[in-house]
């Protein structure tokens, strides 16, 4: 029986395959299989996923999967299970609370300017943001510190990274609002609406330069390289958003790559940076990076879902915003499977009259949201799998619990 490609991954083993494909792991699986001169069942299944053929993959037959994939993505690792149900588990926010407390004040101290420019720069550092990125960075730093046989106390340089990541994020938000001509953010008027586009861009540049200075002051060239890459990724991600792909399969890959560049790269590389500061083992850097990457992508996927399902006032910014910008996100791309009418709309970026409304209807009628949710779950599971390789600590467990928060958020 032919199963549509978008569904085959919802079963356990299929999910492993899709996730590998999404996470780029399949590239390694392919090369491994290719070099071994055989076509594993998993690579065959991945091919089907990519090229939408009916599945040959027998979900019941045991497969020759690599040791890596054996660390179950679809059966909850026992470690995770017991911890998730542990009532004594500290909420990630409260765990990072002390370190986060003065973060915004300290960021504002780095923004040395006067008069109106100061007002603009401080505008979004009012403590009303989610502080999601700094929180991850801080928890990751402490988890790595414990793993490296140091105490779970934050190094000053790691704290700097948390601040720098928030500053880079904010600078990119300010620029995005100009590019998207947005009116509101976090419940207040955007900088470009209040002070004009020109000043908004200059303020964003200024925040970026302050972040860059703080980064340099840490004095670690590797860390500087790692985080400079983020800045480039952010811009490339934005450029990617300008273009669209004809081919459906390319579209999804394009969407995930763009999501990585625009959202996950910052989190992944910040996590990597704090691990570099305390540990020289590249495996640890990779764990930190992969955790950040997977959580980052999941975060964005949920964000894209919320754009369809949430009310405007809860988010602090208007919904169906992505459609109105001509962007086809996860839910739309999945919905396109059930409603091919969306094809043409995607290609013309929902520019015709009534496109936005019709597309929204299609998405809500389809299981696009549900599918995107499943995908986000699998990214989270991968993140958990990665972070579980670190030595146990309250911070590590908080990072595991954080993935749950990412999935459950409503704003």
């Amino acid at each position: 029986m032919a199963v549509p490609w978008s569904r085959c991954w919802r079963s356990g083993a299929g999910a492993a395959v899709l996730l590998d494909w999404c996470c780029g792991f399949s590239r390694r699986a392919f090369t491994h299989a290719a070099s071994a001169g055989r076509r594993t069942d998993s690579s065959a299944a991945a091919t089907q996923v990519l090229f939408r053929q009916g599945p040959v993959y027998n979900f019941n037959r045991p497969t020759t999967i690599t040791r890596r994939r054996n660390r179950c993505l679809y059966t909850t690792p026992p470690v995770c299970c017991s911890i998730c149900s542990d009532a004594k588990l500290k909420d990630p926010f409260s765990l990072a609370q002390k370190d986060l407390q003065n973060l915004y004040e300290e960021i504002k101290k780095l923004l040395v300017s006067k008069a109106e420019l100061k007002v603009l720069c401080d505008y979004y550092f009012d403590g009303k943001g989610k502080a999601f990125r700094p929180m991850i960075v801080i928890l990751m730093a402490r988890a790595c510190n414990v793993h490296s046989n140091k105490e779970g106390v934050l190094l000053p340089a790691q704290r700097s990274i948390a601040m720098i990541s928030e500053m880079i994020h904010t600078a990119s938000l300010v620029h995005d609002d100009v590019i998207d001509d947005s009116d509101t953010r976090r419940g207040k008027n955007t900088i470009n609406k209040v002070w004009g586009e020109r000043k908004a861009i200059l303020a964003g540049d200024f925040i970026l330069s302050a972040a860059s200075m703080a980064l340099a002051r840490i004095g670690n060239n590797t860390v500087v390289s790692v985080l400079s890459q983020v800045i480039e990724d952010l811009v490339r991600g934005e450029f990617m958003q300008l273009g669209s792909k004809e081919n459906e399969n390319e579209r999804f890959k394009h969407y995930l790559e763009k999501t990585f560049k625009k959202t996950a790269s910052l989190i992944a590389n910040s996590c990597k940076a704090v691990s570099i500061l305390v540990n020289s083992d590249p495996e640890v850097h990779e764990i930190a990076y992969q955790y950040g990457r997977n959580v980052g992508i999941a975060f964005q996927l949920v964000d894209d879902i919320l754009d369809f399902t949430s009310c405007a006032n809860l988010l602090g910014k208007p919904s169906a915003a992505d459609l109105k910008l001509g962007l086809a996100t996860g839910p739309v791309l999945f919905a396109c499977q059930q409603f091919p009418e969306l094809h043409a709309m995607i290609m013309r970026r929902f520019s015709s009259d009534g496109d936005v409304d019709r597309a929204w209807q299609y998405v809500l009628k389809s299981d696009g949201v549900e599918q995107t949710n499943y995908l986000a779950q699998h990214y989270c599971q991968e993140a958990i799998r990665q972070i579980s390789r670190l030595r146990p600590s309250t911070e590590r467990d908080a990072l595991i619990q954080l993935t749950e928060l990412v999935l459950r958020r409503d704003k």
Binding site: L117, E197, K199, S209, M213, N220, V235, F239
Partner: protein
């Protein structure tokens, strides 16, 4: 690509697309300087990195009797590439990237001020979008380029220069024509940020990359600062000094106008503005130009330009004589020519 530096060395030419046509003198000294460094299109740039590597190793032969040393000292190829390190060349390109990025971001339009005569709003919006993205792209490349220099002090220095430039442009656009007058000192402070900081700090950074001491770094900074300020003055003064040129329009923030305002005082300035404005509050620039030429604003600007030219020359005296030093001195001299 347009942003690739046409030359890279310790002093720099400002690539200002809003500047008046440079005097032939300036163009000549710049072109002479370019010859010392080499065009990117010459084959030297293709090999320059490799040659520089070779050159650095050949240096170790100094004091030995190896014949390669003779060849090297007679050969333009290796000699020239001994003068500039690859990292310094990269720094120069990075500086150009930043400069271009700020030019691009400076051109962003405030949509609230859009009028029908500007054309369709959609075009302005799209133009803004492209300006933001291109500027960001250039800045991002500058950041990754800086990271590759593997010198965090230099990264800090140049990042602070980016901040200075952005601050400078921000405040430039904030001051309106009719506000209180600026003193010469405050004009310098205000002009340094958008027009001087980048050059001054990249000159300093170039010294740092070659591991020169803080004194050399400071002199390089001073040269860059005074050359940049002098160049801005020279640029602003062109309109008022060159014979036979009556401007269609000029900036009320340009040096001669600012000094003029300070000399005549706020009341008389307001009166003069009214004199040259029509019913629709549009300024007749030719009339205003005439009024300004009658006072001492222009000569004060000329004096200040000489001052900065001399300060730049002073800074260069601290470096040993060389072709490069002469080229830089010639650029400083050229500032006082119109």
């Amino acid at each position: 690509m347009a942003w690739r530096s046409r030359f890279s060395y310790i002093g720099r030419r400002h690539l200002s697309i809003f500047a008046n046509p440079s005097p032939s003198n300036w163009t000549k000294v710049v072109s002479d300087a370019e010859k010392i460094v080499g065009y990117p299109t010459s084959f030297m740039s293709l090999l320059s990195d490799e040659l520089s590597n070779v050159a650095m190793h050949v240096k170790k032969l100094v004091g030995t009797k190896h014949p390669l040393l003779n060849t090297a000292s007679n050969s333009d190829l290796i000699c020239d590439s001994m003068v500039i390190y690859p990292s310094q060349r990269n720094l120069a390109e990075i500086t150009e990237l930043i400069h271009t990025a700020f030019l691009v971001h400076r051109g962003i339009v405030n949509l609230k001020e859009w009028m029908n005569s500007d054309g369709p709003l959609k075009n302005m919006q799209f133009g803004n979008k492209m300006a933001v993205l291109s500027g960001d792209f250039l800045l991002a490349n500058a950041c990754t380029g800086l990271a590759q220099l593997n010198d965090s002090k230099v990264v800090e220095l140049i990042s602070s220069a980016i901040g200075d430039v952005m601050q400078g442009i921000y405040h430039e656009s904030s001051t309106s024509a009719e506000e209180g007058s600026l003193t010469v000192a405050s004009w310098e402070d205000q002009t340094f940020l958008p027009h001087g900081a980048l050059l001054a700090k990249s000159c300093q950074a170039a010294m740092k990359l070659a591991r020169h001491d803080t004194e050399a770094q400071n002199w390089a900074f001073q040269y860059g600062k005074h050359l940049a300020l002098g160049h801005k003055l020279n640029s602003d003064l062109q309109l008022f000094v060159k014979s036979g040129s009556e401007p269609a329009v000029f900036s009320l923030d340009s040096a001669p106008v600012v000094f003029h305002r300070q000399i005549v005082g706020p009341e008389r300035w307001r009166h003069q503005l009214k004199q040259v404005q029509n019913m629709a509050r549009q300024i007749d620039y030719t009339k205003l130009w005439g009024l300004i030429k009658m006072e001492r604003g222009v000569s004060q600007g000329l004096d200040l330009c000489s001052y900065h030219s001399n300060k730049a020359l002073e800074a260069m005296k601290c470096f040993p004589p060389s072709e490069a030093r002469s080229a830089l001195e010639n650029m400083a001299y050229a500032l006082t020519k119109f």
